[in-house]
């Protein structure tokens, strides 16, 4: 299986590519816009670190927005990681640019007032994650944990779109899922065995 990884100039996708190719049995194709997404591609990843507004602008300018839209219309699986997940929503408190809007809702900054003792923003480190309202075939569901680095979090409008939650600042949405669109706030590529299990599960979706 070939996975397209969208590279719009945000961060090192090396560990993501290596994890997919060495541990998940996938081939990766780095896609930088300009051309068109290959017809045979069934799975596509939108990674990203950095500023929401800047990245949203980049996606629009490079025409990736409309390409991803038609990719979804043909039934492809899209996975956003970290900022890439936030970009799936409509807007963010970080910048004025519009998100992709594949999932209704907004991205908000963590509120200082919601922090428990010992917590600070950005949320950085490993957190246990709970699956919400659906059965999963992921291994080790009971003790899943992932690595996070972020100051903003996704707030989907429809509660049915919440896929995973994690305990920080009173609890937040760690992952969203609506049909063939999935977004994870954490970094599977930095979450060793848990990340591998998650990516394998996602790759098995069609």
């Amino acid at each position: 299986m070939t996975v397209a990884i969208i590279n719009y100039g945000v961060g090192n996708v090396g560990s993501l590519v290596n994890m997919l190719e060495r541990k998940c049995g996938a081939q990766c194709e780095i896609f930088e816009g300009g051309g068109i997404l290959n017809e045979g591609i069934t799975h596509c990843i939108l990674p990203g670190v950095g500023h929401f507004g800047f990245a949203a602008e980049e996606l629009r300018k490079s025409g990736l927005h409309s390409q991803l839209k038609s990719f979804l219309e043909t039934g492809g699986q899209l996975l956003g990681i970290c900022l890439g997940a936030q970009l799936l929503l409509e807007s963010s408190e970080e910048g004025d640019a519009d998100g992709l809007g594949f999932i209704s809702g907004h991205v908000k900054k963590f509120h200082e007032g919601h922090l428990s003792q010992g917590e600070c923003i950005p949320h950085m480190g490993w957190s246990d994650v709970q699956l919400v309202g659906r059965k999963s075939d992921m291994k080790g569901d009971n003790s899943m944990r992932f690595y996070f680095v972020h100051s903003y979090h996704m707030v989907p409008q429809d509660r049915n779109d919440v896929f995973m939650t994690a305990d920080f600042a009173g609890g937040f949405t760690a992952a969203v899922k609506r049909g063939n669109v999935t977004g994870v706030q954490f970094h599977p590529e930095k979450s060793h065995a848990f990340g591998i299990a998650f990516l394998k599960s996602w790759l098995s979706e069609s």
Binding site: G14, C120, H187
Partner: protein, 248 residues
Amino acid sequence: MRRVRVIPVLLIADGKLVKTERFKKPKYVGDPINAIRIFNDKGVDELAVCDISKDRFSRGPDMRLLEKLASEAFMPMAYGGGISTLDQGMALITSGFEKLAINTGLVEHPGLVTQLSARLGSQSVVASVDYRKGWMGGLQQFTHSGGTRVRGDLVTLIKGWVDEGAGEVWLNCIEREATYTGYDLQMIERVSKVLPVPVVGIGGAGKVEDMQAAIDAGASAVAAGAMFVYQRPHNAVLISYLKEEIFV
């Protein structure tokens, strides 16, 4: 219940994986990429890479090598060695490192820690403090791989690095490095009592009980080098990790 962070520390010199003892006698122990791959499979939650090459200050972080190492790692990584500017710090974060350890730069580049933490957040900036007994018998901080003494009271200095913006302190006891004699519990206790940020004990780990003792003394995480790259009693090279997690 909290899972204790247990961080393997990999030393590199001129692109090779090495291990020192009490900051001396760097010994070749293999290839850093191979070591990272082994740690991937062992489910290590955090890894530290420190470049101790002599020319690290003049050339800065070896970005070509580090980008390769970051691409290999399936866990968050910290990097230390020759960071002297904000731009270098930004480049390291972009290339896939999560934390920057500043040691010699604490003294040589005043304001660097403040700049880095203002831009990246204090959780990404580590004050890496090497210390040992000075010639008067008191504990003193050293930079340049233990070569240069920093004037002033050790605990006061450490508080200062945190005030400047360091979000974590690595407390590295030079005299214990690779000796398997256990962590410097006294110092860990003294420092963690007065700091609002996590303290990581480094130097001396030989067994799980040593780590447990460091946590009991107040460390929020522990790091070790020799214990994870050597097999005793003869220090044969063998990359390993704890068989079970430590909880407190």
